[in-house]
């Protein structure tokens, strides 16, 4: 099963259209897409506008591959549960997000080699064609880095979180 998700807020028709057309071309019947409030309605894949967090979690665990916008929720969850993921960044210039931070996210994670990145719709079909080769990355810890955990813990218990030493702690 391939699970496609555009995240909790915005539509991403540019990605959904490519996945839908690819599924039609290849005759893939095992694709489910969460499409957000988009105007492109898929013709070849099962889809829903939004799904609950628990259904999303279940579908992410059961999928063999995820296809997602370059949102941190999708990426972190995929890395945490060890499901391979293909990401495609939204573009502010196309009205897909408020700014271009997903471009930077995609470049960073591409450099880390932990995810497969399609920078735009022209690169997505090839990524989908190689869907069977997308590697399962090593799972990451379900928790933040020890350093950040220590900073938060220190702050919560009255320290400065190793940040401003301005006497605000109790």
């Amino acid at each position: 099963m391939i699970f496609v998700t555009v995240g909790t807020q915005l539509p991403f028709d540019r990605m959904i259209r490519v996945v839908d057309e690819w599924a039609g071309r290849c005759g893939r019947k095992d694709v489910f897409a969460q499409i957000g409030p988009g105007s492109y309605i898929p013709k070849h894949v099962e889809h829903a506008t939004f799904i609950s967090p628990s259904e999303c979690s279940t579908r992410m665990r059961e999928a063999s591959v995820l296809v997602a916008h370059a949102g941190m929720g999708s990426i972190l969850t995929a890395l945490e549960i060890g499901t391979p993921i293909i990401i495609m960044p939204r573009r502010a210039g196309l009205g897909e997000h408020r700014n271009d931070h997903q471009l930077a996210t995609a470049r960073r994670f591409a450099a880390l080699g932990k995810v497969r990145v399609a920078m735009d719709e022209s690169e997505l079909p090839a990524a989908l064609d190689s869907v069977g080769d997308v590697k399962v990355g090593e799972r990451i810890s379900p928790f933040a880095s020890p350093r950040l955990l220590a900073a938060v813990k220190g702050f919560v218990h009255g320290g400065s979180g190793a940040a401003r030493a301005d006497g605000v702690s109790a």
């Binding site: 929720g73 933040a144 950040l148 979180g161 702690s169």
Partner: protein, 155 residues
Amino acid sequence: MGGGMSRKTPRVLAVASSGGHWVQLRRLRPALEGCDVAWLTTHAGHRAEVGADRFHTTRDANRWNKVALLLSALKVLWVVLRERPDVVLTTGAAPGYFALRLGKLMGARTMWIDSIANVEELSMSGAMARRHAHTCLTQWEHLAQGGLRHEGAVI
């Protein structure tokens, strides 16, 4: 209950919008062991994830919808008044900003952790929160400067 005494179990209000902000906030939960934690997010479906902790929701909002922002702020105010947190911890976005401002007004100590998605600059809500948070962290070392500190990341 309530109050700002330092030698008892801290009451923490942990706040994040559903989606990436929430996933990042939840990755901090080992740091909250031994605290009295209440969670605030924008989707009721996350309730099952927090076990026996208290759980609140507010509507999602962004700067393009002023009415939603106002309603969200009012709900966050209600939650802050009910929870009387010693600490507000948030990974953003809009509801986290409101909780941080309102919590601080009520005497809470406040920490903003800007989303790891913001690789090139602090988020807009982060830039606003930075002026008010007791501690403001970026998850990217190259963005740290002045009072904006880097103390690792959620991965």
